[in-house]
């Protein structure tokens, strides 16, 4: 893993979480009613996004969680 200074790393997580929150609703598909397999495309986007969110959250528990709260002082 690339060496990062702590504030860059924190900013990185902050940005990641902001993107995770903002993208849960596919704003760019506003008004679209395109269907894939009987379900709207925008719903598929959301389903995929939530799975990605779980992966990102899992990564955060390994690499970020203890760094910011409750861990040993770095």
């Amino acid at each position: 893993m690339i060496q990062m200074n702590p504030s860059m790393r924190a900013a990185g997580w902050l940005l990641t979480f902001a993107v995770v929150v903002a993208g849960a609703v596919p704003w760019f598909l506003w008004g679209s009613s395109q269907l894939i397999g009987g379900l709207p495309l925008w719903l598929w986007w959301h389903i995929g996004w939530m799975i990605v969110a779980t992966a990102i959250f899992a990564a955060f528990t390994r690499h970020g969680w203890d760094r910011y709260l409750g861990g040993i002082d770095a």
Partner: protein, 512 residues
């Protein structure tokens, strides 16, 4: 073995008796699990309320999850999808799956760390101790109990409506509401947190299973999702397009933010932040959250959406889910899903009543009325409080003060007013007692006035603006209350100095 004829009050149709038997039987099994848990429960408060802080991942995940599984998710959500379209999935996913998970870390994990060091059982206790203020403790407890009232009532309304839908009106609304009230009281009096957590886990897994079976059943009956979508296209052509005049960006963002922040301050959710066995449990629950939310909400709300396309008509005051299942699945299966939903609502309510009773005894009665109360007497007060509270919500539920979604979001908005002052307190050591009192008091006043004061139209520069409306320009007024709460907490803390009995170091943990 209960006699179905007796339980159904002499209802004539055999089918209705079978359905009622399934519902009551299921609730009895849930009660039995509670009894087993009760035998394992110690008598001290830490065990009764927090199961001795020994809850593992699966149980913590599901007990928190099942606590979110309420009449709001099972009945109000599909109803909304039925009337307005499936975008509610996005609201719930963003709010429960993403925002709540992040707050789970920022508020929940921080509180867990603090609770580990100082042994707190409730949020008001934690704040009261940190700020050396019984008044603050009482205020937070009082505000919480006030907003808990409509939310417990919501479960009784949901149960009443569910049985009306399931039995085609043979069981009256008040009968269903009364049934769940009785089970709630019995249950919470018997089991404590361990019992509630166990049944939550069973019910969470059960609901996850049956909701997917329900989807498979309905889809195979109608011929697949493409046919269901075609029906929607014919009946409600705007449903499949993302967004509508109802689901505006303002509505989606307001609702997701207000509910997510509100959820963290619900007594029964907040108390769960103290119960995890280890940090690993909290981490795993956090990461699994979005997927779990997806697995439950997508099928539940799609069922509601499809019902609109399939031309299901829902009688006034009933919920779409029982009606849809009654149409496409056998009576016993529909009853099983409704029973599962009711049981989940029961355990949600139990958690609420249990946590509410700890707020009442520890944060109101003990500090303000009788500091030297014995543990025994406190236990009886807690149970008496539960009975009084549940009876009060039951009686109020008979007046049907609004739809499930209205009652639910009003309660969430009230709780959301607490969240930002609490977060400021958790992370900013210069927060003062007066800042907290101003932030919590000010935001509650603003929100309460908008809930209870009738709307007043005023003319400002040629445009008419409705004062005391619940939304301004499509944005929920609860958001304004939250902003005001944060601003007052920070602003007043800034200009006041902390008293000698305020102990900021209580909230300092680990890497801070």
């Amino acid at each position: 073995m209960p006699n179905p004829a007796l339980l159904s009050g002499g209802l004539s149709t055999a089918a209705t008796s079978v359905e009622l038997l399934v519902v009551v039987g299921y609730l009895l099994v849930a009660l039995l699990v509670g009894l087993v848990a009760y035998r394992l429960t110690g008598t001290d408060a830490e065990d009764y309320y927090l199961a001795s802080r020994s809850i593992g991942t699966l149980v913590l995940l599901f007990t928190t999850f099942a606590t979110l599984l309420s009449a709001f998710t099972f009945f109000a959500g599909p109803n909304l999808a039925y009337r307005q379209g499936p975008e509610w999935i996005l609201v719930m996913g963003t709010m429960d799956g993403i925002l709540f998970a992040i707050l789970w870390y920022l508020i929940g994990y921080k509180q867990w760390l603090i609770g580990q060091q100082h042994g707190y059982v409730t949020l008001p206790e934690m704040l009261g101790d940190r700020f050396g203020s019984t008044r603050l403790r009482g205020l937070v407890a009082g505000v919480s109990l006030f907003w808990l009232f409509p939310y417990v009532m919501l479960q009784q309304m949901g149960a009443g409506e569910a049985l009306v839908g399931l039995t085609d009106g043979a069981v009256p609304y008040w009968g269903g509401a009364a049934l769940i009230t009785v089970f709630m009281i019995l249950y919470v009096g018997l089991a404590g947190m361990r019992g509630v957590a166990w049944t939550d886990t069973i019910q969470g897994l059960f609901m996850l299973g049956v909701i997917w079976i329900a989807v498979a059943w309905v889809l195979s009956a109608v011929g697949g999702p493409a046919v269901a979508a075609a029906g929607l296209d014919a009946n409600n052509p705007t449903f499949l397009a993302l967004g509508s005049s109802f689901y505006t960006p303002q509505y989606i963002i307001s609702t997701a933010v207000v509910i997510a922040f509100g959820v963290t301050m619900f007594p029964q959710i907040n108390q769960r932040f103290f119960v995890a066995e280890s940090a690993a449990v909290l981490k795993r629950s956090f990461a699994l959250w979005p997927v779990l939310v997806l697995l439950l909400f997508v099928p539940a709300f799609l069922l509601g959406t499809w019902a609109a396309g399939l031309g299901i008509s829902v009688p006034e005051g009933a919920n779409v889910l029982p009606v849809l299942l009654g149409e496409y699945t056998p009576g016993w299966f529909a009853a099983l899903v409704i029973a599962g939903a009711m049981a989940a609502m029961m355990s949600s309510s139990d958690s609420m009543l249990l946590s509410g009773s700890s707020y009442f005894t520890r944060d109101l009665y003990r500090p303000f009325v009788e500091p030297a109360v014995t543990a025994d007497r406190e236990g009886w007060l807690a149970r008496g409080g539960v009975v009084a509270f549940a009876t009060g919500t039951f009686l109020t539920s008979l007046t049907r003060p609004g739809t499930l979604i209205q009652v639910g979001s009003t309660a969430f908005g009230g709780f959301a007013q607490l969240t930002l002052p609490v977060m400021v307190a958790l992370y900013w050591p210069n927060t003062t007692r007066r800042g907290m009192l101003a932030g919590i008091g000010g935001s509650q006043l603003l929100y309460l006035s908008h809930v209870f004061v009738p709307t007043v139209p005023v003319d400002i520069g040629g445009t008419t603006i409705s004062l005391f409306a619940r939304t301004y320009g499509g944005w929920d007024v609860a958001l304004a209350g939250m902003a005001l709460g944060a601003a007052l907490t920070i602003g007043v803390s800034w200009v006041t100095t902390a008293g000698v009995d305020e102990a900021a170091e209580r909230f300092a943990v680990g890497a801070d």
